[in-house]
Amino acid sequence: MIARPHTPVVRSGISYWVDSYRTMVRFELINLRTFLAVALVIQVMTGAGMAYLYGFYMGDMPVTAQLFIVTGIPALALVPIGLVMVPGSIMLHKIRDTYDFIWSLPVPRMTSAAATFTVFTGLALPGTLIALLVADVYYDVTLQWSWLFVPAVLLTSLMATSVGFAVAHAIPEPRYTNLLTNIVMFMAILFAPIVVPIAQFPEWWASVHRVLPFYHMAQVIRDSLSDGLVESAGASWAMLSVWTVVAWLLAGWVVGRRK
């Protein structure tokens, strides 16, 4: 009787992929556990804090202006997660030299990417909702909730996470990523039509924002929370989808690359 030699698991197929994906989600959650708590605090502070702060700067505002601020807050709260914390977590791996280790794990690399998208997209939801509720309480406006709010927040969050992921992997030097995320925050808070109508911006700057994602993030969410502020959000849905797909293509290329 000769014992049958131990056969290694076949490393391909859908069930293997799903299995690896589940493992990587767990891995990411455990790996980032303290980071995730900090992220939630930062997100609520950015979202809700900025809601108060805009009010302090602008003083008495007409109801429409207040409604613009409140409906812009969810998009503003999603920027720090996708475009700052995601690149930050990848940057940390590079600085601590654990980056190559992650890639050496015996799972398909795309499952690692998919796990990052899942964890951060999910993480962004409670903070976004809290920020929106805090803003809603502070300002005296009535929101017109529609079911579109859920897909709007999910797509916005997925887009931001994907872009943050792709860019952080594509830029080899973590310090440049850090500089870039600071610029992004600054742009989102002061120079983007997230909490104000785009018509208020000079024409050339408004056309820049028709290409950048910030304006579209705000538009799809605003459309799902109000009546009459957004004429048509179709173009914004399309733009966000384009940004997401381009980010995935970039991520696919960067992740598939070998040294």
């Binding site: 900025m50 702060l53 302090f56 602008m58 003083g59 808070i189 120079f191 208020q200």
Partner: protein
Amino acid sequence: MTVANAAALPAKRAGVGHWMSSYRAMLRWQLTDMRLLLPMTVLVQLLSGVGLVIGFGLLIPEMTQRLALYLSTGAVVVSLVIVGVIMGPQLIAQQKASGSYDFMWSLPVPRSSASAAWVTLNASIAIPGMLGALVAAILRYDVAFDVTLMVVPAVGLTLLTGTLLGYALAHGIPKPDITQLISQLLIFVIFGFSPVSYPIENLPGWLATVNEYLPFYPMANVVRDSLTDGIATNVGRSYLVLSIWAVLASVISAAVLRRRK
């Protein structure tokens, strides 16, 4: 013969002459130390000062002369304190984290000359930033400033209090992580929750009261008083509160400077 003997002795480490030459040496030291950071610092200054003036201008639909004056004088104050209160403590926290902090204190110069050099360096970075914010405001909103001689004590006191506060914060707190955290929080406090760039009436009552006792609103109020006409009120009280903070920060800084391990 006596001349040769005197030359063999080490230089005397006391007196005004020694202090002055130590001060010059430390100024050169700190400039050299910061040479790579200086472009970044200037960028932060420009973004925070000019960016504040222009950025909020984009967000506020109908800019009035009064609001423009608030924004631009607020930007001046932010330029004056951002290096001292926020960047300074972060630099020192990094020195502590990387272990070069004790080496700095071991240099054979009076510690007070090192802090005087830091105040000087801060002023020379902050004042161009302040002028940039003023020029941006004039170009963008066509605001009319009404500059009085009070600008000298107002800017001087703001700069000194800001730098000393940052100094006390950086040297007084042993853990660099906590210093980093506080300075991050202060960014929020200065930009958002202190009426530096907007009228204090915009705040809810209790927050306005808190700000009467914190240093940032008085800084803005005295600077606003020296640059504009008629929008700053209760300036005497602001000078008083600010002076108390300046004294407090100097006492803490002095205590920290004298401390030995």
